[in-house]
Symmetry: C2
Subunit: 339 residues, 2 copies
Amino acid sequence: MDRVATIRDVAARAGVSIATVSRVLNGSGNATPETMEKVRAAASDLSFRPSTIGRNLKAARTRTVGVLVPSLTNPVFAESVAGIQEAADEAGYSVLIASTDYDPARESRAIEGLLSNRVEGLVLTVADADRSGSLDTLDEVRLPYVLAYNQPERAPRAHVSVDNVAASRAVVERMVALGHRRIGMIAGRFRQSDRSRRRHAGWLAALDDAGLPPGPVVEVDFNELRLSHLLAPHLEGAERPTAFFASNDMLALATIRALRDLGLSVPDDVSVCGFDGIEVGRLMTPSLATLVQPARAMGATAFECLRTGFSDDLQGRAVMLPFTLRPGESLGPAPSKSS
Amino acid sequence: MDRVATIRDVAARAGVSIATVSRVLNGSGNATPETMEKVRAAASDLSFRPSTIGRNLKAARTRTVGVLVPSLTNPVFAESVAGIQEAADEAGYSVLIASTDYDPARESRAIEGLLSNRVEGLVLTVADADRSGSLDTLDEVRLPYVLAYNQPERAPRAHVSVDNVAASRAVVERMVALGHRRIGMIAGRFRQSDRSRRRHAGWLAALDDAGLPPGPVVEVDFNELRLSHLLAPHLEGAERPTAFFASNDMLALATIRALRDLGLSVPDDVSVCGFDGIEVGRLMTPSLATLVQPARAMGATAFECLRTGFSDDLQGRAVMLPFTLRPGESLGPAPSKSS
DNA sequence: AAGCCGGATGGAAACGTTTCCATTCTTCAC
DNA sequence: GTGAAGAATGGAAACGTTTCCATCCGGCTT
């Protein structure tokens, strides 16, 4: 692999100084038409591409933002990353993406990497926004960041999300309206997810409002896709739940699968509603009822907050995005025998 | 935001030269235990993080690879990117991810960006590996790259994929074994996808071998999720296909959805088999039968090829990964009335 | 005791840009 | 015709590293 052309090569070929080359190619400062022509020709002949590295070093700014998500394979994060990329692309920013796969060691390594790359800010989704070493690190070095999806309870940290409590209430209220009286919840580990906690709180509050006792709560690990053995104990007897609220869509899908494996029909025996609004949910049978968060907009908005907030103070700012309840075949009326 | 500490700050605080700081922190060269201690302390006090930019500029190598995929929201690409990241992380490489959303303009911009960032090589998936301006550009500048998923027909370009023709044959053979005689295909636009073409070729070859006439072929755009109106014309009359082979899983899901919307049962009336092996396929009802490509391994392998091949010549090297047919409820025996 | 070796350290150059400042040259007003 | 203004251009510094080379010093061999 041969050496890549530098600005000096272009200057030599065009018979001008590197200063002139830089000015012409960046459109800053003036230059004779002939000079411009010569420089452009030389640059194109050598297929010169200015080195971002050299440029950044000099400029002391990188026009790059970092993104950290738990996993790219969860469609909801993939979608939000796509939103960030789109917005960043438009604003002339580059994006550095890192994923942690729920591994704390990888998380700190990723943050270190992004820091070393001198990103100007970060958009990230962490497990628990109230107790996160990574966020502490960022606070320490005073690097602006905006959380996406996270909704910190105590720490005043900038974030973009939906109102998880209100959203969960909406789900439960819908279930109640459909005649469900025993409503369970399948949730990601509370210790590992502020979102899961909030959604649980909303579920609890809505049940309370409706004068209903809380149904069983099943906490599961992320990446856990085999749920039958966890659900089975809660499905025996006449008092079994007629509906489950899952704290995210992947869990909802796994739940439907498990129910079906246990010989129950969705939604005839048991209804299920998820949270996230991933696109594949529309394609399955039964189609997935879910609380839709605007994932793409979430990413894009977080990026915009970061960008426009670079100068201002980001501390504790919060943006709430609207949510909608997408009906789906997985959520139907409660079985009549149970009403 | 205050200025970030540089190696000079550390040197000053430790009372040594920047050369010594560099040596201590990188473990190259010798140093007195006390010196090492002083330097480490100073670095940690200032929470010094060496600038990748400065480092790369000097080193003239970035230990960074670029990744280009059509879309991060297609699980099969997300998964392969995850595989790349994992392998890269392990090898001490950084990853720069770009996605094109099937937009040629964004594709060239992305490539330019990666080139400017002086990536040492690329792993990419393009629409058509035989006619791709981006690949031509890469050849021109002699930057090593490895294609993932693509299987070029003419151009001798390094790639990692499965044998798409053989894989498609396996699918069709299975369908034939299940009694299907009229087998249609739902395929991504041939002009836009070498994979789609190959898979179509395999489908055709297998039908020919079985002495069956090819069923209808429906070419659809990427991102097209509403297929009912495209499928409807081919589902009338007694001669309608009893099985469809979809050239990728997202299409397969959309196909199942459409069939169902048209009042047909899957798999009782019509069977469907996809291609890719995305995880959600296991979770749906009916579970998706699909030809599984090892997506994670695809990414990881492509990265390894790139890394180990940096010195050698990558030209036209090909690695074929094994595929498996994952049975699923969407693919059943042909309806008896048609046998 | 003289010379050497080698370990510890510092000075300085280099990487590829951008940009400040200085220089040259043209043009125009007086 | 002289001076000034301003446009075009070049020289050189700076950004944060790594690394080559030189220097210094203590201790060993002979």
